[in-house]
């Protein structure tokens, strides 16, 4: 009798933590979904469900770069390489700065690439904690 009650208790608490992690993962996906490449979202959620409870703190502390900000920077000061500096691609930023935005070509190419590059960068940041 005692054993079964303990077992059910354990099961209940287990279920409770499951629901909690589910909620946390969903919450994270809702608030941060826009920061990641859309084809990776399902994969990220699965990974989040598996992680240790202790890791949640460090994941919620992570700072992600906003793709919209990157695009605005790219449109306004792209030829100075500021968009690349914002993403932490310092080498590419210096390259863009020294070549007048790659003679204007690279700058225009980056208008279309920068949001994807930003999402990839965020995924990299998250993966550093997840794995």
């Amino acid at each position: 009798m005692l054993i079964t009650s303990r077992l059910t208790n354990f099961n209940l608490s287990n279920q409770y933590t499951n629901i909690m992690t589910n909620q946390k993962a969903d919450m994270f996906m809702m608030t941060n979904g826009k920061f990641f490449p859309s084809h990776q979202l399902g994969h990220i959620r699965e990974k989040l469900l598996k992680i240790d409870e202790n890791n949640w703190g460090s994941i919620q502390m992570l700072q992600f770069k906003d793709p919209t900000t990157a695009l605005i920077l790219s449109l306004l000061v792209g030829s100075l390489g500021v968009d690349r500096f914002y993403l932490g691609h310092t080498g590419l930023g210096v390259g863009k700065l020294l070549t007048c935005g790659g003679m204007g070509i690279w700058q225009i190419v980056d208008w279309f690439l920068i949001m994807g590059a930003c999402r990839e960068k965020n995924l990299e940041t998250l993966q550093r904690v997840l794995y």
Partner: protein, 139 residues
Amino acid sequence: MHTTQKKTYIILTIICLLGYSWLGYNLVITTKPESSAKTVCVIKHTTGIPCPSCGSTRSVISLINGDFSKALYINPLGFLIAVIMILLPFWIITDLVNKKNTLFKFYKKIEIILQKKIIAIPLILIIIINWIWNIIKEL
């Protein structure tokens, strides 16, 4: 990790090739009389003021002609570009031949160094001062 390394080498090679062809085109243009080199700078075309690296082509060309003080006057960044353009092809080729990634490691190290605030802020200030000087000189 491996793909970023490959990408870095491809981008650096493309930059190098484009840089040399642009330089060659400008060298041919400047030797002909009564023809001025065209600018492709987006900032200069849209706003009319020069960007921080405007004039670097002219600076490198005066370096090739041996006129160091003129190069320094037009744009000091020309020296940096000249050093990079001389070093880069040799470094890429030696890395390719030896199948090593010394250039990539160096590139990553430089990136980390440049991201430190103590180094980044003075460099940004230098670039801004150079920009103001460019605007005053009306390049």
